[in-house]
Amino acid sequence: MKKLITATIAATLLASTALQAAEVKIGFVTTLTTGAAVIGKDQQNAVNLAVKHMGGKMGALDINLIFADDGFKPETGKQATDKLVKQDDVDFVAGYIWSHVLLASRKSVLDAGKFLISANAGPSPVAGKLCHENFFSSSWQNDQTPMAMGEVLNQKGVKSLYVIAPNYAAGKNMVAGVKRTFKGEIVGTDMTKWPTQLDFSAELAKAKASGAEGLFVFYPGKAGGAFMKQYQQAGLKSSLPLYTTFTVDALSLPKFQAAKFNDVLGSQFTQQWDPTLDNEQNKRFVADFRKEYGSYPSFYAAQAYDSIFLIKSAVEAVKGDLKNMDGMRAAMKSASYPSVRGKYTYGNNHMPIQNFYLREVVAGADGAWTTKVVKTVYEGHQDPYAKDCAMQ
């Protein structure tokens, strides 16, 4: 009798896992409302394209995608995350454009024992003290990109720098990052109200009066467009050259082009990815993305696309056994999936160790504005917080 009961329970358990395992549920948290929804839409497009390229399947499992809106607010993002974890019982939570949203939401995912894949945000705590075995990034740690820019500034021989950035988690990391590698003098820093401040007249006047040789800014999303225009209207191009990270992207370039804002051509910034990087995965991604949606993908899209392939590599490594967390973790840690940025590895904190390139805005072959790679700034660069992470 006892055996029978055990057997029945075992059979039921098996049946239920088999039933559950028919699909892999992925929750994707991004911004679908407010003006920042333009980024969310780009990510959503990339994720849908990734699923299409996979034929809707990861191994034998069907992909069940659930998009959730963070409303550009940490609190709303956390609520959306809670719902994905508690209500939809997803296997993976991916996405997160904004550092403060990720910081607010991470605990909900990790406490529930699920995997958390950041497709953009890389605030310093999750790379350092708050690193977690179930957290992976398909993007970068916030400090890395501005560190690369600091290096570029050194190579260009810039001696003094004025820094303007928004006052939130990522903005602070960006400033810290550029200060980390820039060898000259930082003559002034302005942190502006985020995300409401879009008029930078006071800050630009200060930057100009400071007599710095260069101006470093970080303004993602629509603030980036606003900043670029005001910089141009202030006529600072010759006296105070501009160096940016995450401020000009494939989302703002078509707008600039429509407005014939030619000053943007030739502006340079650092990044871990570019649409011209020469690998099979990237070529297919960029070509199909353009065919499907009619514009170049942004880096947000590229990372979102990667995040889904990263998850696929984990699911396939354990042959669809989603209970095998260790197996999936090991598979992701090996970063053996085809990334659009080319091969990279993971550090002990599950942040990418990867190349950083200097990109420049150019008119593409068909006239649409895009970017090209000028040079490689860093090869195999690791973020500075890895040493604070207790994981090995």
């Binding site: 679908l32 940490p74 609190e75 956390k78 809670d82 607010a104 939130y168």
Partner: protein, 321 residues
């Protein structure tokens, strides 16, 4: 018992039974929803005391919720990460004392100034004080500023474990009941009569020899303190706090809850908060453009429904206030 009383009791019974049953049947998310609704219900009940019964339209009430939440977050932060040992503590009673105390103080200070003004000026000055609180916490780099503050350890209370969703809900529900009874007692006391009389005709009350300013100020302070307590619960519930909780749009939402359900009724604010949260949840699951129908509904309620949902019941029962 009249129909309003019956509906009130029925509503409170539903809130007592349905969410725990949902939790036990594995629907943890709906329990979350219910907890949020009950906690915001306390905030709405407190606002109703001054808005509904006192005629003081406070457009900055979300500030008290935020103050209460930070009264949990800041001591817990220092208890976890050190420094500033004077306040470092996980003790929930201490958090409650801080939440209620600071909210009352803030209400006393801002109320004393705001109540010098009337009408639209009052609406706008309370909003200004709310925004001040919002920007104040935005400026505190130590506690995350704009990024908000994650509460790693919930408040520790005797006999109650707030980590258990059921117990947290239980505490919130009982608190809501107490808040409703408290408001009921206040409204029906001599103090409450003067308060309502002031709403109707301040000059008459003044000629009758009442110093209406102090009556209104006391009501404002009580309301702020209650709302601060709701903030204590909300902080423990979300385990994440950010200045966003104090933004003027949040104050607007609280006002809407009160009006939607029916101001100056006992159950109104709770009906309002329930409907608000459920609608938000349901509409946003259909479309990302859910603000459109939501806004339309708001306009329609204001234009066509006198006295909110409770008003509907009243007119049905043919009973006038």
């Amino acid at each position: 018992m009249n129909i309003i009383g019956k509906i009130t009791i029925a509503g409170m019974l539903i809130l007592a039974i349905v969410p725990p049953v949902l939790l036990l049947s594995g629907q943890a998310f709906y329990m979350d929803l219910a907890t949020r609704l009950v906690i915001l219900g306390i905030g709405a009940v407190s606002l109703n005391l001054i808005l509904g019964f006192g005629g003081m339209v406070s457009f900055g009430h979300a500030a008290f919720i935020g103050l209460g939440a930070y009264a949990v977050g800041i001591p817990a932060y220092h208890a976890t990460y050190g420094e500033f040992e004077m306040v470092a503590s996980y003790n929930g009673l201490f958090h409650i004392a801080l939440a209620v105390g600071f909210s009352a103080l803030f209400a006393l200070f801002t109320g004393a100034i705001s109540l010098r003004t009337k009408g639209v000026y009052f609406i706008m000055i309370t909003m200004a004080f709310g925004q001040m609180a919002y920007y104040f916490f935005l400026s505190l780099d130590v506690y995350g500023g704009d990024d908000g503050l994650t509460i790693d350890v919930r408040s520790e209370l005797p006999l109650i474990n707030l980590d258990s969703p059921m117990q947290l809900y239980g505490l919130s529900y009982v608190s809501l009941l107490i808040a409703m009874l408290l408001v009921n007692r206040i409204v029906n006391s001599r103090f409450g009569m003067v308060l309502q009389g002031t709403k109707g005709n301040a000059e008459r009350m003044a000629t009758l020899g009442y110093n209406t300013y102090y009556y209104q100020l006391l009501a404002y302070v009580i309301s702020g303190a209650m709302c601060g307590y709701a903030g204590f619960l909300l902080g423990n519930f979300t385990t994440f706090i950010s200045p966003d909780m104090m933004h003027w749009t949040r104050s607007g939402e609280l006002m809407f809850m009160v009006i939607l359900g029916g101001a100056s009724t006992a159950l109104g604010p709770i009906l309002g908060s329930s409907l608000f949260i459920l609608l938000e949840e349901i509409l946003s699951s259909f479309t990302i453009y859910w603000h459109l129908p939501f806004g339309l509904l708001l306009i329609l309620v204001v234009l066509f429904i006198r006295g909110g949902l409770m008003g509907l019941f009243k007119s049905k029962s043919g009973e006038l206030k």
